[in-house]
Structure formats: structure tokens, C-alpha cells
């Protein structure tokens, strides 16, 4: 409610409103930051120690099922949020994972090893994801983790969504519900959770739509948080929805004043940049991220039984190139989403980002490079690892040079 509270017309006027206005005063962003701060390895471990059912994983397309089973899913991202260098070293030294593998998989293995005596000992994992994660999760069983895999099912192309794949995923999800609670799945509760998540997703969609016209109102790092929250709502769906409502109110108030003058270079970001400094470099170069392809905000179907809705959701995401490698998304299609975003927003170029050493993302980026070259859309590709270290001078220079070129 920051905007309304000020009652200051000038602050609402985009011509005079200082950039970054929203970041300091927005109540929606404050709640978002508070949610993220409470969703950490340590905070969730405490909940688990107090008897709450908490698992690693299950925070993505499957989160409505997990919530319906009274369980909090902790995003795998938390495994490299801290001590990632030390964790990576454990994976290489103790588990002998060859150094050529990505920092993400290695950090996960090392961090799970460090936390082996903690209370969160169950891991839910979707089998269509990347191979390194499969391999390291098999190794974590040696540290006493109970790893459940939803078997590998993919719709490789849109026309490949086969009925028997939906049926199979439904039985897989029924099995997971029994693993989580010891009881058969409560379909009504899953339906409720789907409805709740759809509410959140629609709001996220609206926030992103408004943000595309006011790209400086929510900083890059916080926007990333909204995307991440769209998956699991940081374990607190209602509070997340409240944050989105506030942001919509704030952004609509600005939007009502009419279009902002285009004083910046509009760009689309594909994936996410690993470090806040890179976001800063983008903005310092006077570029605004007007379109962002990270996790989509498509809703779940509510016209089919709830477990089927989950199955359709993930298979559709795969063949759309959405939700990334975690769900085994096709590498061939993200470029369509990016191109659509460029056309919709009038962006002048694309920054495509991936994790260093991630085979899947590197292939996708090459397809994007080829494609955008063909259709005449400038693109720069970046690689960052999962360590929260400042980007290299070379990376910053590349970003700045790219944006300068677009200008």
C-alpha cells in the first residue's frame, strides 16, 4: 500500500518519480522479502524438528499434492543458498563426483551430507529431470535419506501427451501421497490446493504483466523471488497471495497514470542471472527487463480430477519449454516463449542465462543463439554458477557492451 499511503501525486508521476521508488516503501515487497527470509534451510529444519512434516523437493508442479498431504516442500535451491563452495568440495572429495559436473548438483550432494543428522530426511524427486540429480540422489541414500522418485514421464512434444502417461502419473502421485501420509490421497484437498495455487499464479501473472510496463518498480532479485514463490509460495500460500495483491494494487496505481516514457532499453531475460550484481549491471546500463521467461504462470486445469490436473500441468509445461530442467522440459521450445515475450513487449534484445556446466541449459542456449540470429533478434548468453559470488569483470563487461550495442 506504499503508493496510496504517500498521497503524493508527484511520486506517482512516472516522469518525476525516482526509479526504485517501490523498492523501499512497498508493503507487497516487504512481505515478499519476509516470506523468502523465513523459507531457509535452518527455518524449515526448525519446523521439522518441532514435528511438522517437511521434505526436500516437491516444490514445483507437484506442490499442491504435497501441501494437501500437510507437508511443507523445501525448494532444492536452499541447498546451495549457503556454504555452496564447501558443499561442492565435499561432493568432489568424499563422493568423488568428477569436477566436470555442475556446481548445482555437487552443492546439493555436499549440503545434504552435512545435514544428514538433521530432521528433514525425506526427498521427493521427479524422474524426468536431469541425470546428475538422479545420480547424486542415489548417493544420498547412503546418508540415510529416504528418496522417492516420481518415475520418468515426459511429453516430448505437445502432440506426445499420451493418455497412458497421464494415467501413469496419476498412479505415481497416489503412491507419493501414501509415502507422505501413510493414507490414500484426499482428492478434495488436492483440488483445494490447486485452486489456491491457481489464485496465486493468476496474481503472479498480473504482477508480471504490470511490471513489464514499469520494469524498475520491482528489482531483478525481487522479481526472481516472485517467480520462485509462484512454485511453492514459500510454504505460506495465503501470505504470498496477499503480497501479490498489494503489488498489483501498487502497480495498477502507477499504471493508471498512463505509459511511462521509454527512457530505457527494453530487454527480455531468459532464465535467471545468478547474482544480484548482474541485475545491477543491467540496470546501470540503462536497460529494463520488460519480459522474463523463467517459470511460467499458466494455471492448472480445474475441469478434470485433481491428480490428472497435476499430470496435464507438468506434461504441458515440458512440451512448452517451461519450468526448466527440473521437470525435464524440452530444450527445443523455450526460445518460442522468449520470442513471444520479445514480440509482446517490444524488447530490443535477449539476455539468456544458464548454470555453468549444465549440459541441458548450454544446449538450449545454443538453439536460442541460432534461432534468434536467424530471426534478427540480438542475444547475449551468460553462464553463472550457483555460488553467490560477484560476477566476473568479463561478465559485467559483456552485459554492458551488449546493452550499449542495443542502444
Amino acid at each position: 500500500m506504499g503508493i496510496v499511503r504517500t498521497q503524493d501525486k508527484h511520486l506517482l508521476d512516472p516522469a518525476v518519480r525516482p526509479r526504485g521508488f517501490g523498492r523501499e516503501t512497498s508493503e507487497g515487497l516487504r512481505i515478499l522479502d519476509e516470506l523468502a527470509a523465513g523459507y531457509t534451510f535452518d527455518a524449515l529444519e526448525k519446523l521439522a524438528a518441532d514435528g511438522q512434516s517437511v521434505i526436500w523437493g516437491g516444490q514445483n508442479w507437484d506442490s499442491p499434492l504435497v501441501y494437501a498431504c500437510d507437508t511443507i516442500p523445501v525448494s532444492f535451491e536452499q541447498l546451495w543458498a549457503e556454504e555452496s563452495r564447501a558443499s561442492e568440495a565435499i561432493a568432489e572429495d568424499l563422493f568423488q563426483v568428477p569436477s566436470e559436473f555442475c556446481s548445482m548438483a555437487k552443492a546439493m550432494l555436499g549440503r545434504l551430507h552435512v545435514g544428514r543428522a538433521k530432521s528433514v530426511k525425506r526427498i521427493l524427486h521427479f524422474g524426468s529431470g536431469c541425470e546428475p540429480i538422479h545420480s547424486i540422489l542415489e548417493l544420498t541414500k547412503r546418508d540415510g535419506y529416504d528418496v522417492q522418485t516420481i518415475d520418468t514421464v515426459s511429453a516430448f512434444k505437445a502432440q506426445d501427451k499420451r493418455d497412458h502417461a497421464i494415467r501413469f502419473l496419476v498412479t505415481e502421485l497416489e503412491r507419493i501421497a501414501v509415502w507422505l501420509t501413510g493414507k490414500p490421497v484426499d482428492h478434495d484437498r488436492v483440488a483445494e490446493q490447486i485452486h489456491l495455487k491457481n489464485t496465486a499464479l493468476r496474481k503472479v501473472h498480473r504482477v508480471l504483466e504490470l511490471r513489464s510496463r514499469h520494469p524498475f518498480y520491482i528489482a531483478g532479485e525481487q522479481t526472481k523471488r516472485i517467480f520462485v514463490g509462484s512454485l511453492h509460495q514459500f510454504g505460506k500460500p495465503q501470505r504470498f497471495i496477499q503480497a501479490m495483491d498489494l503489488l498489483i494494487e501498487e502497480l495498477e496505481a502507477i499504471d493508471a497514470l498512463g505509459p511511462e516514457p521509454l527512457t530505457y532499453i527494453p530487454i527480455v531475460l531468459a532464465g535467471s542471472v545468478g547474482n544480484v550484481k548482474l541485475f545491477e549491471a543491467i540496470e546501470e546500463s540503462n536497460a529494463g527487463i520488460v519480459g522474463w521467461v523463467y517459470f511460467g504462470s499458466h494455471p492448472y486445469r480445474e475441469d478434470v480430477p485433481p491428480l490428472e490436473a497435476l499430470a496435464h500441468f507438468v506434461l504441458d509445461a515440458q512440451s512448452r519449454g517451461d519450468l526448466g530442467e527440473g521437470v525435464g522440459s524440452s530444450v527445443a521450445y523455450r526460445r518460442n516463449l522468449v520470442e513471444e515475450e520479445v514480440r509482446k513487449t517490444g524488447a530490443r534484445g535477449v539476455i539468456s542465462s544458464s548454470v555453468t556446466g549444465c549440459p541441458y541449459a548450454s544446449l538450449m542456449q545454443q538453439l536460442e543463439r541460432d534461432h534468434f540470429k536467424k530471426v534478427g533478434i540480438p542475444i547475449v548468453t551468460l553462464e553463472t554458477d550457483v555460488h553467490k559470488e560477484p560476477p566476473t569483470e568479463e561478465q559485467i563487461t559483456r552485459v554492458k557492451a551488449f546493452i550499449e550495442m542495443l542502444a
Binding site: 563426483v97 559436473f101 529431470g129 545420480s135 548417493l139 518415475d151 545454443q366
Partner: protein, 412 residues
């Protein structure tokens, strides 16, 4: 003895296989030539992985082959244009082989490519290939112990049948499939019998020869294969073998592509040890099972292929570990050479588990991380030689201990 020049040009190299195998080698080469050139009106189908049932391709009357060549440096680097450096050289070869200007003519003759989703790298490679060649991808479950996963795989196999029938332009009945199951079982059984010959103290065929037989399985039609292999089996089974006293080795790990023979040649020809078993998907591993010949043929194929010796991508990892350990014991190997292609998550990231298992069983292991660059051949030779030396010392110690025990028993 293989020359260094041969190592640098594996495709063009004169085959370092025994004269007994030369007729089979010639058959394979002729079939590859015909696959490319013969105007027979038949569609060509290619597939990558040993979890693909060729029974169905054959039932549809397609000309088919497993695409598992180790690419030349030029082909690998074509593939690398897409993958950058972070894929294994096999997946790069698969992409590079389809490059319309500089690919492999054998790959370019393929009308349709099939790939069961084995490892994620091959899935990604196939997604790229989809824009170069018509492609169908199919699911392959990992939880082979779960009934629902097996039923799902059965449905994927039935879908595969529909797809190949469509490609061939003719129906494929259940009876057609059953007939092929019987035929392929015969071929698999025969190859297994060849491998059993290697259990003898003096194996009548080398590891290099065995790989050639396996190669035939993936290129030749089963009836042609049986006609050529049966007389050879009779001959080899009567042979007394040679090279007694050499250490017996098993190769375990990532697939060893057609043409990737430098390690095998180094071990058998340059250094002089026997390779008597392979726990990889281009050696003995895919031949250790039989498909049920009665009942629903799609279910039989699903069960058969899931029950086959598991690749490391299967769950739980204990299954492939158990299989590997048992195979090493069954073939009474003195040591294991564990080879994984760089960037292979299936065998690279889990190497500690495999190596640990062999060590638990008291079997010495040499670990090698490899690619198709041939740049490290000198270093490789030194490491393998040192390993064989250790094995020889151990064997010698065992021999001495046995003699001493015998002498002691005689004195009593």
C-alpha cells in the same frame, strides 16, 4: 599389434579382430553399405539405446540399425557446436552424425530416428536432432520394480509398435511381434553362448572379437546373423583357446561405441590381457536375458527389457551395482577396468559407488575417464600397464600361496 596410426583413425583401421571373425566383419560392412545405397523401397529406422526393442522394427519389415558409432573428430566437433563441451563425446557424435553436410552417410540414410529416454544427455541430443530427422521419443521408466512402471512401459512399447507400423505403412500384428521375439531370443542366446566360452581358462575368442559379434547383432538381420554365427560358434567351441596365464578383465561403465576400440586394443594387443566380460551396453550386458515368448507380446517386451541387466540410470543404484559385481565374479575376473565417458552422469557421478562395490568384493579396479580425442593414449598405456602389473603380482602371490598349501597338505 595395433599401430599408433591405427589409434588415430579408428574408422579406417584394419580390424584387429581374429581371422575367424573376418567373414562376419565383411557381412557387417556390406550391410552398412547396403543400408546407405540399396534401393529396396524399405524405410530405414535408427535407434540409439539398447533398451529399444528391435523386435518391433523387424516385425514392421523396416531396415534398422542401432546408431552407436564413435564419431570421428570432425563429427564430434560438429555435435559440439550444439552441446558445447559439457556433453559426453557419444552424444556429440550422435548429433554430429546427422549433420546434413558433414555427417555420417550411414546416419543420413535414416528415415526415422527412435530414442527411448535413457539418460538426459541423449534426450537433449534427440531434441536437437528432431529438427534434422523425423524423430519419435519414448519413455523408459526407472523404477523397474514397480508394477505400474512396467504397465506404463508396456503402453509405450505398444505406442512404438503403432509408430513403426505407420512408418512401414503396414500393420504389425501381435503374432508378428511374437515371431520376432522368438527369433531375437535365439540370437541373444547364441551371443550369450559365445560369451560363455570366455569363462574357460583359455578363452577361444578375445574381447575385441566379442565386441564384433555384438556389433553384428545391431546391424544384421537376426536370420542372417544366426546363419553366420552358428557355424562360427561350433568352430570356436571346439577350439582350445590360447594365452593361458594372462590376467582376466572385465570392462564396466559407459557405453563403448562402435569404433571406440583403443582401450580394448591396448589391453589385449599391446599389453596382453584377456577381456572376458563387459558390463556395458555395447558388450555382454544386453544379452544376459530372454524375453518371454508367450502371452501379451508388448508386456513381454516391457518386462524383458526392464529385467535386463540394468544400466546405471535405473533405480535403485544397488541393481546395477549388484549386477556388475556378480558378473565380475561369474567370469572370475582378476580385475575390472571402470571406464566412463567424461560428462557421463550415469557412470561418472556414481563412480565411487561402482568402485566401492568392486573393492568390497576384493576385485582390483582401474578407473579411466575417457573421450574420443585419442590425445591421452600414452598416459593410458602407462596406467593400464601398471594395473596389469599389480594384477600379475597378485596372481603370482596367489599361486605361491596355493603351492605352499598343497605342499603342506602333502606333508601332512
Amino acid at each position: 599389434m595395433a599401430t599408433h596410426a591405427a589409434h588415430h583413425a579408428p574408422r579406417k583401421a584394419p580390424p584387429s579382430i581374429s581371422p575367424d571373425l573376418m567373414p562376419i566383419h565383411a557381412l557387417i560392412e556390406a550391410e552398412q553399405e547396403a543400408f546407405i545405397k540399396e534401393e529396396d523401397g524399405l524405410k530405414r529406422a535408427g535407434y540409439f539405446c539398447s533398451y529399444t526393442p528391435p523386435e518391433l522394427l523387424n516385425a514392421a519389415g523396416l531396415r534398422h540399425a542401432r546408431l552407436f558409432k564413435a564419431g570421428t573428430p570432425a563429427i564430434v566437433s560438429n555435435g559440439e557446436r550444439y552441446t558445447q563441451s559439457v556433453f559426453c563425446d557419444f552424444s556429440k557424435s550422435c548429433i554430429g552424425g546427422f549433420d546434413k553436410d558433414a555427417g555420417d552417410p550411414f546416419y543420413l540414410a535414416v528415415d526415422k530416428l527412435y530414442n527411448f529416454h535413457t539418460c538426459a544427455s541423449m534426450k537433449r541430443a534427440t531434441e536437437v536432432l528432431d529438427s534434422m530427422v523425423p524423430t519419435t521419443m519414448l519413455n523408459l521408466p526407472r523404477l523397474r520394480g514397480e508394477e505400474s512402471s512396467r504397465a506404463f512401459f508396456r503402453d509405450e512399447i505398444a505406442h512404438f509398435r503403432d509408430d513403426v507400423a505407420d512408418l512401414a505403412g503396414r500393420p504389425v500384428t501381435e503374432d508378428d511381434v511374437r515371431e520376432q521375439i522368438v527369433l531375437f531370443n535365439k540370437a541373444r542366446r547364441l551371443i550369450r553362448k559365445f560369451s560363455d566360452l570366455r569363462k574357460r581358462p583359455k578363452p577361444p575368442l578375445s574381447g575385441r572379437d566379442f565386441l564384433e559379434l555384438v556389433r553384428g547383432f545391431y546391424y544384421l538381420k537376426p536370420d542372417a546373423l544366426l546363419a553366420a554365427y552358428e557355424p562360427l560358434y561350433r568352430k570356436l567351441s571346439r577350439s582350445r583357446g590360447k594365452g593361458d596365464g594372462r590376467p582376466r578383465l572385465m570392462i564396466s561403465g559407459s557405453e563403448m561405441a562402435d569404433g571406440d576400440r583403443r582401450l580394448v586394443e591396448l589391453i589385449e594387443e599391446d599389453i596382453g590381457a584377456h577381456i572376458v566380460a563387459e558390463d556395458h551396453c555395447t558388450g555382454l550386458r544386453p544379452f544376459t536375458y530372454t524375453v518371454c515368448e508367450t502371452g501379451d507380446p508388448f508386456r513381454a517386451l516391457a518386462d524383458g527389457y526392464l529385467d535386463q541387466a540394468p544400466c546405471a540410470r535405473m533405480k535403485p543404484i544397488e541393481d546395477p551395482l549388484d549386477f556388475s559385481g556378480q558378473l565380475a565374479q561369474e567370469y572370475a575376473v582378476d580385475g575390472v577396468v571402470y571406464v566412463y565417458l567424461k560428462f557421463c552422469a550415469c557412470y561418472g557421478a556414481t563412480r565411487s559407488a561402482f568402485i566401492g562395490r568392486f573393492q568390497e568384493l576384493g576385485i582390483p579396479v582401474l578407473e579411466i575417464s575417457s573421450d574420443y580425442s585419442h590425445s591421452d593414449i600414452g598416459q593410458l598405456k602407462t596406467r593400464v600397464e601398471a594395473f596389469i602389473e599389480v594384477l600379475n603380482e597378485k596372481r603370482f602371490d596367489r599361486l605361491l600361496a596355493a603351492r605352499a598349501a598343497e605342499a603342506e597338505a602333502a606333508a601332512d
